[in-house]
């Protein structure tokens, strides 16, 4: 179980990222215009979460100086990675996720980089923003290509929202261990990822809109919509928990039944209780509009969900491993000092990257926000402008 803790952290961080891709790709395809002011933010969060996630498999393989062995690179040993292994699927899933999210994020920022280049006062900034804006002039031909490219990127990123965490869940589901070996895992993991990811977006956007004066861009409507998604995905997660217990009973499989009785009543019952209260009970507050639109309550629920989703992965990994088929391998797991420090360190990395992003890159997608303003639409009689503006 030595590797258990890094895997808990890995799944936690990969999951966080999913809200960003959902906002940027799926909500874009569904033409949900409210996404424009939070998408940049959420995409940045996705990338930084994937960076944190990527660090943990690199450490848990036990030879952190050899992670390139994970990739199919010809080498002097004549060895290749095993393409039939779920762990290699993971390498590709997370690798793809990192590449696609970064490209999507970058392509979305090109027009904004051009704005920063034009507005920048110092030479270094002008040069650097000039390089990354790729000679953007705002020409209609540029916009034409840009919009096509963005649409295609969104269409390609959409399956990733579902596939990345499905593949992560295969790490468990393809194993034979009771509590892991279930077909429920892919949808359950995806719903949990979106759930945890939106909680993290709320956690980040509430202070950011306060401190950076973005209240006119990230409005209560955005926060309320995100809280509704947290409630909806939270209910899917609650349903999945219930289904797991039902299937354990219904299967008539002794080991499966033992694992699921051991979860709430065994030595890790405390972790199960935290998970259940945080993920199932706390989002129920969002049934009430007053709670959905109250900043302290939504921060409280979001923090609960952040904690709860970490404990969900801890419960899944630990409860199945600490009571194996072989009683001789039974043992209780206690994280080491190093384990705890690595978890804290990953939060440090995440917030450092996020603050650097806030400092140097456009936090809100400026060109997209301009594009949804009523003035950006031709053939609108003046009297409709006020009405339209209220919606975006």
């Amino acid at each position: 179980m030595a590797w258990g803790f890094p895997i808990v952290n890995f799944v936690f961080w990969v999951g966080i990222g999913h809200a960003g891709t959902l906002i940027s790709a799926i909500l874009f395809l569904f033409r949900q215009k409210w996404r424009t002011s939070i998408n940049r933010f959420a995409e940045a969060m996705t990338i930084f979460a994937v960076v944190c996630a990527g660090a943990f498999p690199g450490l848990h393989i036990g030879r952190p100086w050899l992670p390139y062995w994970l990739f199919p690179i010809p080498n002097q040993m004549g060895m290749w990675p095993q393409f039939r292994s779920p762990l290699l699927w993971d390498v590709f899933a997370v690798g793809t996720y990192a590449i696609v999210s970064t490209l999507f994020w970058y392509v979305g920022m090109i027009p904004d980089f051009a704005t920063l280049r034009d507005r920048c006062k110092n030479k270094i900034g002008q040069f650097l923003y000039g390089v990354v804006s790729l000679g953007w002039t705002g020409s209609s031909r540029h916009w034409h290509r840009y919009e096509k490219a963005y649409l295609l990127l969104a269409a390609l990123a959409t399956p990733l929202v579902l596939s990345v965490h499905s593949v992560v869940s295969f790490d468990f589901a393809a194993a034979q261990l009771p509590g892991w070996h279930t077909t429920l895992f892919p949808p359950y993991f995806v719903a949990g990822a979106v759930f945890g990811g939106f909680a993290m977006v709320v956690t980040l956007s509430v202070p950011a809109r306060q401190w950076f004066g973005l209240k006119n861009y990230i409005t209560m409507r955005h926060l309320e919509n995100m809280n509704k998604i947290i409630l909806a995905t939270g209910m899917i997660v609650a349903y999945s928990y219930t289904t797991e217990f039902f299937m354990a009973w219904y299967s008539g499989h002794h080991f499966e039944q033992f694992v699921f009785l051991n979860r709430p009543f065994g030595p890790y019952g405390w972790a199960f209780t935290i998970m259940f209260c945080c993920n199932v009970l706390s989002p129920q507050l969002f049934w009430f509009k007053k709670c959905r639109t109250s900043i302290p309550i939504m921060l409280f629920v979001a923090m609960c969900v952040n904690v709860g989703m970490w404990f969900e992965r801890f419960v899944i990994v630990t409860t199945s491993l600490h009571r194996d088929f072989l009683p001789s391998s039974w043992a209780n797991f206690v994280p080491t000092r190093i384990d705890i420090m690595m978890l804290i360190g990953s939060f440090g990395l995440f917030f450092t990257l996020f603050l650097l992003f806030c400092r140097f890159l456009p936090m809100v997608a400026m060109s997209e926000v301009k594009g949804v303003l009523p003035q950006a639409h031709p053939h609108h009689p003046d009297e409709n402008h006020a009405q339209d503006g209220g919606q975006h």
Binding site: P72, G78, M79, W80, P81, Q82, F83, R84, P86, L88, W89, F92, A93, G95, T96, I99, V100, L103, F104, Y106, V107, P111, T115, L134, G135, T137, G138, S139, S140, R141, W143, H144, R145, Y146, E147, K148, A149, L152, L153, L156, A157, P159, L160, S163, V167, F170, S367, E368, K370, G371, Q375, A376, H377, P378, H379
Partner: protein, 129 residues
């Protein structure tokens, strides 16, 4: 918003380019329609956000970008499948619990991924063609 042609300093007093600035989307659309109808070829509209309908007003031809993306996707898919087959079934066959050396289902997660990211890389390169 400017409507312009490539500009440089004229040596003599002759009209080389015309630049015009517009305050609203409607007026620039009307102007773009008129310029197109007048038959000009070297002109462009610059705006801080995409203007819907401007492509038709200028007469921008559709881009081949989607085909490049499709090509990238197919290449990535075949390439991924080839590496999986070559490394696990041909160059270094390794028998694990009697499972087939090469089977499509076990390789779907891996080939799905190059399918996704190779068009992305192709796209970022092709974006500015």
């Amino acid at each position: 918003m400017t409507l312009g042609m490539p500009t440089h300093k004229p040596k003599e007093l002759s009209v080389v380019a015309v630049v015009a600035e517009f305050d609203s989307v409607d007026s620039i659309m009307a102007a773009a329609n008129k310029v197109r109808e007048a038959g000009y070829s070297k002109w462009d509209v610059h705006s801080p956000f995409p203007i819907h309908g401007m492509d038709d007003a200028i007469g921008i031809k559709p881009t081949i970008l989607p085909w490049i993306v499709l090509g990238g996707g197919i290449t990535g898919c075949i390439g991924g499948l080839f590496i999986a087959w070559y490394s696990n079934a041909f160059e270094y066959p390794f028998l694990i619990s009697g499972k087939p050396q090469f089977s499509l289902p076990a390789n779907i997660p891996v080939i799905l991924k190059p399918r996704c990211y190779s068009p992305h890389s192709a796209q970022s390169l092709a974006c500015w063609l």
